[in-house]
Subunit: 160 residues, 2 copies
DNA sequence: AGTGAAATCGAAACTGC
DNA sequence: GCAGTTTCGATTTCACT
């Protein structure tokens, strides 16, 4: 298994590699080595180590939902009735497997979860919320906000 | 420039390639070709086309914020006083450049923006909200929710 | 931990289908 | 739009430091 909690602190070279891969996850090992000033073999070992320690959780293509027939994006704020642990855990386990779910955030405060979804049409969005969220055990309320525009942060997380 | 709005519909092979790259953005062209049943040259051209058409917006390493010294994640719901276009546009342009911003969503409803941030400590989070969000022109209110847990959707967006 | 050289394998361009 | 060939570059291992 991969270790998620190795306490070894990151040095400057690690942060450089992370910033490069956050920007372009398909950059070749050879180019990573050049830009970070490492030998290729060393660079390969560093990146593997970052993965094994759970610093790099994965590398994923960012697909524009609108171009794959999912042009309607929304954030659904879900509030629970009680806070039965079993309900919360089942929700957390089940929702990421539903089609069109981009991400699921469990948060503090008046809202318990934010669900980021992408659906083909407004009707599909309504069906998704009614069929898969509000009907779920423990869910008291779901409030849907359409996403007009979304953008990634432009700074590498691994910086200063 | 890359075209963002080519209306050409995606076929099954495109969707297969997208699903593979959403899962593992570092998969080699050779392996993509094997798994999709294409010749390598064809596969290369297909992936390039998906990028040029804006279907693949980028490929990015997913870095665990906690491992790079940003263990405090939050969603900040921002509400504007009026809805002056200039304020909205300036907010949209400026916030993604702030350190620790993961993503920015402009949404409909009572909240105008959701800002996903990752900061080193609770104090840094407070400073971020007070210094960079609530002081910004047009901002009426910011409500911060700590993120207990976050997970990606497990289905490729490009499916079904 | 980091390196350099060597062997294997992949990328990218080009050809013809 | 697809497959075979070739050239060039990248990946990975290993012996050494």
């Amino acid at each position: 298994m991969t270790r998620q909690d190795d306490p070894r602190p990151l040095d400057e070279v690690d942060r450089t590699l992370l910033a490069l891969l956050e920007e372009d996850g398909r950059m070749s090992n050879a180019q990573l080595a050049r830009e970070s000033g490492l030998a290729e073999s060393t660079c390969l070992a560093r990146v593997r180590s970052l993965r094994e320690r759970g610093v790099i959780r994965g590398v994923h293509a960012d697909v524009d939902p609108a171009t794959v027939g999912r042009g309607v994006e929304a954030i659904v704020a879900v509030r629970f009735a009680g806070h039965a642990r079993a309900d919360i855990e089942e929700f957390t386990a089940a929702v990421p497997d539903l089609p069109g779910v981009v991400s699921l955030l469990h948060v503090s405060g008046g809202t318990d979860f934010y669900v980021h979804v992408a659906q083909p049409t407004a009707g599909d969005l309504r069906d998704f919320v009614l069929d898969h969220l509000t009907t779920r055990s423990g869910v008291a309320h779901a409030e849907t906000s359409l996403i007009f525009d979304s953008r990634r942060g432009r700074r590498p997380l691994s910086e200063g």
